[in-house]
């Protein structure tokens, strides 16, 4: 979609092991650590500020009740009280009039971490998914996702692939995402899990997609489907394959290492902006304090 009215906030996951070790003991610490500044920014960007209706979508998670609870507490600490949890577990629930009605009334949705394949296999093509796309296109509506929730928000989505073997042909598994933004492919827990190979591979396989590697505790606010602003305390690695000169990806067998000539990499941190259409990084000014959300 071109020039959506909505805003997209994608977050690289918590500083802890995030989506894949959702032990209840770690959960509170996770959220405290990483999302306060970013959650604050989400409410600032939302149509009705602190009064906005926020739905936490815990579908990706294995422990949805605990995760939902923590988000409610965290938003409450920011004075945001109109928050619900939508634990949609099956496709039929993603078509139910009750859930559609709740989405209609929401100003913000927040997709939690977990498994991004759950998000796409449960929501893909449902009435809920179509309404999300419509609201994002025509309303001042905020879609936010962390970890799996971030990975699923683009049109092409990485859902598996070891860091070690990422540059062996066929190792990085990609499928269709929820498509809130096109021409990007998003990876999370990025620096921490050594995932550069997954992103290089994804970009080489189709350079129309800008690779976005979100560090933990770090996110992008995307406005107009084009203007990206780095938020949070960490780093974002961007991979631009537009000027790729050569790869042997089509020549080697499955499981063999691939070669790639000339990908461009940018490193973004808080306050920097990136223009997706023109592929230009605008580095911001001096950056203290680390988290601007906390100033407000």
């Amino acid at each position: 979609m071109r020039n959506p009215k909505g805003k997209l906030v994608i977050i690289g996951g918590s500083v802890d092991r995030g989506s894949f070790s959702e032990s209840p003991a770690d959960l509170h610490r996770n959220l405290k650590f990483f999302e306060k500044g970013i959650l604050k920014r989400i409410t600032t960007e939302a149509a009705k500020g602190n009064l906005s209706r926020i739905e936490i979508i815990t579908t990706a998670s294995n422990i949805p009740e605990e995760v939902g609870e923590e988000y409610i507490k965290s938003f409450a600490q920011l004075g945001v009280l109109n928050v619900g949890v939508l634990n949609i577990k099956k496709r039929e629930e993603a078509n139910s009039p009750e859930n559609i009605e709740r989405l209609k009334n929401a100003d913000v949705v927040m997709f939690t971490g977990g498994d991004q394949l759950r998000l796409t296999s449960i929501f893909g093509g449902t009435a809920f998914h179509h309404l999300l796309l419509e609201k994002y296109e025509y309303e001042n509506f905020v879609i936010s996702g962390t970890s799996a929730g971030a990975a699923a928000s683009s049109n092409n989505m990485i859902y598996q692939g070891s860091s070690h073997g990422a540059l062996l042909k066929g190792e990085v598994k990609i499928t269709g995402g929820l498509g809130f933004i096109n021409n990007v492919i998003i990876d999370t827990h990025f620096v921490q899990r050594g995932r550069i190979g997954r992103l290089l591979y994804s970009c080489a396989s189709n350079p129309i997609n800008l690779g976005i590697g979100l560090g933990e505790d770090t996110g992008l606010l995307i406005i107009d489907g084009n203007n990206m602003e780095a938020i949070g305390s960490g780093l974002i690695i961007l991979v631009d394959g537009t000027h790729m000169r050569n790869t042997n990806m089509t020549e080697v067998e499955m499981g063999e290492p691939i070669s790639i000539e000339n990908l461009i990499v940018h490193v973004m941190s808080i306050g920097d902006h990136f223009d997706l259409k023109n592929k230009r990084l605008i580095i911001g000014h001096h950056k203290i304090p680390i988290n601007p959300g906390l100033k407000e």
Copy 2:
């Protein structure tokens, strides 16, 4: 130095945890796993082939006896029997006439893994170091290093820096290396330890240095101080900062995240060549078998 007659073989470490967990139990497996093909190639490139005199320099290691023993066994399996171990532990030993004499008679030296700061602090500026440089410049002499031994071979050497915090100003620690090659900076265990940040940081701080990230089980054979050939089974990431447009590295405080616009990245695998002077990757042909050294 320009157009040295010697050859340099730098290796990214073993597929195991390599330099930092040198448990004797893992050692044999390590070498079996990763270095057979590369060791074979070293002997092929050496002045006298299988009859070459090889000195294993175990100075970087905490368990030099065990490491030396394993290399001797591995070379023996390849039919290379004229192999010694030089466990130089102090600067005075790096100036002793006996050790200088042994180096004079060597066709190949192999620096093992361990701590690269041990290599530079013990060898730097000694008679042994000067003779290494001289032999490398004027003789058909092979200098090889794995892990710490590879890291130490360039003029600027990374010796510390967490993967997580690598793009915070001041986090990546660099000092002078042994200087067998200039205008590169080498990192090892690369994909496996998520070290892309260290290399991006190093290149941004001085783009004259090409960043070389060697995966485990992977190396570069460098001839003429310029022509690089990928060897081994894994991947090499190259970072070229020549066309960097902008960084805020000089503006932010120590410990703050930095931003970088426009670094170029290449992915190399076996059989690819890279021209250091012209910064061009030449992707090789179809690549079976994985390890050409084993064919010979």
